[in-house]
Symmetry: C2
Subunit: 355 residues, 2 copies
């Protein structure tokens, strides 16, 4: 059971989470590195504290680190002695890479109380002024665990997300999370930036830009965000991004070779364009399920970025004491997400189209 949540950092993500939890009846205590958002946050019912020590004195069941990743080592160092006096408090975070954060948490001696998390929510804005409780509407969170993760602490974090925030959860290990994030976000950000770099280097860039339409607009949108923020994200997940960039380079070179071969490469060119069909069918199935749910009036969640509102079927999943991590990871690999718990060893699983 989660009665009190501590939020460290009242930026876009932390502020939105604090406002969401408060709206849904959870007691939220918060600390920010500068107190400028405190007056507004207090008006919204959030209890703001001037030190991390005061935050911990409020006995939060879960502390959520919503600070920038670059501040993580300093905040963990400050928290470590305080957490020792509150052995039941669970520590989690919202960082976009998980392996690096776990290493830092362990280095600070806080590994035992830690469960990682990453909400797939956000936009191009930042800061408390942009905080919006609806930022989390329909969001999916990744919860990251390892062999030593305490199941009771996992349940606290999962209950906070499913019951108190009203979102869905998948369980993964750090490596799987960071590779997946590199696949669908970090590496594509580099590709998008490479596209605009290629245009800028083109002597006919003004003609090309004038002729550009929807394809170019969509493929370069993320390259328009603060390049320094993108750079930090890529460097924090650099091993995975590096491997994927090499694979993408090989795919593009293969295609160039096949085009060069003309008629001799025709079969390979056709194969290249057919290879992604499982993703095309997956997208069609997700869209179809969303449309059907909307027609049936069974849609339960607001549309999520990248997918549609949908009322997907649910079933129950028994979670064993031994190997619960693997059971939940395999469920995520099947495309399922946790929407809640019947009791601590019985999760409710939402079934979604899978590839």
């Amino acid at each position: 059971m989660v009665d009190t949540v501590g939020i460290v950092g009242l930026g876009l993500i932390g502020g939105s989470l604090a406002r969401r939890l408060t709206e849904r009846g959870v007691r939220v205590v918060a600390w920010n590195h500068r107190p400028h958002p405190y007056a507004q946050a207090e008006a919204d019912g959030i209890f703001c504290k001037s030190t991390l020590s005061e935050l911990m004195d409020a006995e939060p069941d879960v502390v959520v680190l919503c600070n920038p990743l670059k501040a993580m080592p300093a905040i963990l160092a400050a928290l470590a002695p305080l957490m020792g006096d509150h052995p039941n408090t669970t520590l989690t975070d919202v960082g976009s890479v998980k392996g690096m954060v776990r290493d830092q948490v362990k280095a600070a001696g806080l590994g035992k109380c830690y469960v990682g998390a990453h909400p797939m929510a956000g936009n191009e804005l930042s800061g408390w002024q942009a905080a919006d409780p609806h930022l989390y509407d329909g969001a999916l969170w990744a919860i990251t665990v390892d062999e030593s993760t305490d199941y009771r602490r996992f349940l606290d974090v999962a209950a906070m997300i499913t019951k108190d925030v009203g979102n869905r959860v998948i369980v993964v290990d750090d490596e799987t999370h960071d590779k997946a994030a590199a696949m669908i976000s970090h590496m594509p950000h580099v590709v998008s930036t490479a596209l605009i770099n290629e245009l800028v280097a083109n002597p006919d860039r003004n003609i090309a830009a004038a002729l550009a339409a929807g394809c170019w607009r969509d493929m370069t949108r993320v390259s328009l965000t603060d390049p320094d923020r993108t750079r930090a994200m890529v460097e924090e997940d650099s091993l995975n991004v590096e491997a994927l960039l090499r694979r993408m380079a090989a795919r593009l070179t293969d295609m160039a070779d096949q085009l060069h071969a003309g008629a001799a490469g025709e079969q390979d060119v056709m194969g290249f364009f057919a290879e992604g069909d499982p993703f095309r069918r997956y997208k069609a199935a997700v869209t179809h399920a969303g449309i059907t749910a909307a027609q049936d009036g069974t849609a339960t969640a607001a549309p999520q970025a990248g997918t549609t509102a949908a009322g997907f079927p649910e079933r129950e999943l028994a979670v064993p004491e031994a190997g619960w991590q693997q059971t939940l990871l395999f469920s995520a690999r099947r495309g399922e997400a946790i929407t809640g718990f019947v009791h601590p060893r019985q999760a409710i699983i939402q079934l979604r189209p899978a590839m």
Copy 2:
């Protein structure tokens, strides 16, 4: 002066153009390889003909080839003997590659009466049922010329686009057009497809797809269109696409090497993310101009895909008799577009932000 326009092919592009021209008072005669859209087209005021010979008997000032590129050689062969009896009729087309079409036009003996064109309009639909006169709202057309292009014929096509359709025009040579189209559309389509192929090959594809948000959705949208249509487009511009794919592969490999180098590659990583700043500034300037124009109430055109409604300043440009092609090409390279003519040797040029 253009009184009558002949449209060959009543699909999405040809049907939309025929409806647009008819709405704006131009007499349109049309031929389609199957007569199924004729009843609706006639109801819209389009004069449908059962043969290309009947189409030419209507004495069109300009004939616009809107057929699929694969049908081009057969249609040109059928048109060639008919065009000989109508020496003043100008031939143009709407194909997405221009060098290949000009070669085919010349092979059919029709080079003298030809001016190439490519409207930057379209969507993921096809066929007469999707035809919409508003498809051309705010569109830019490329007109392609070579050393031998007749200026009077160029003016007929440019007048049809600026005066009768109400669009803007830039003038380029075939090579510049096909390279620019490869840069902002054909090559990015391959990159988008390579991204979904990479996801499909990923053992954790369902986890990655579940975690995907706006970045992934936008960067893979064009990969969801009919892969066979994309394949044809890429193969028709294969030399340019091949060269750009190799350059993109080199950029991605360089970035992988810099990430691999860690701290030693840090400066290069920062350089990579700064390299596209001219494009970021260009986008900001276009957006700012659009917002300013909207606030001033000076916006004249509907929003164009990839940019915003805007009332950009205009000036006049003298077009010399000798070297008019170069004068207009240099204007396009400066980011300008033609919106009309004061008289045959005096164009009106819209000034837009440039890189």
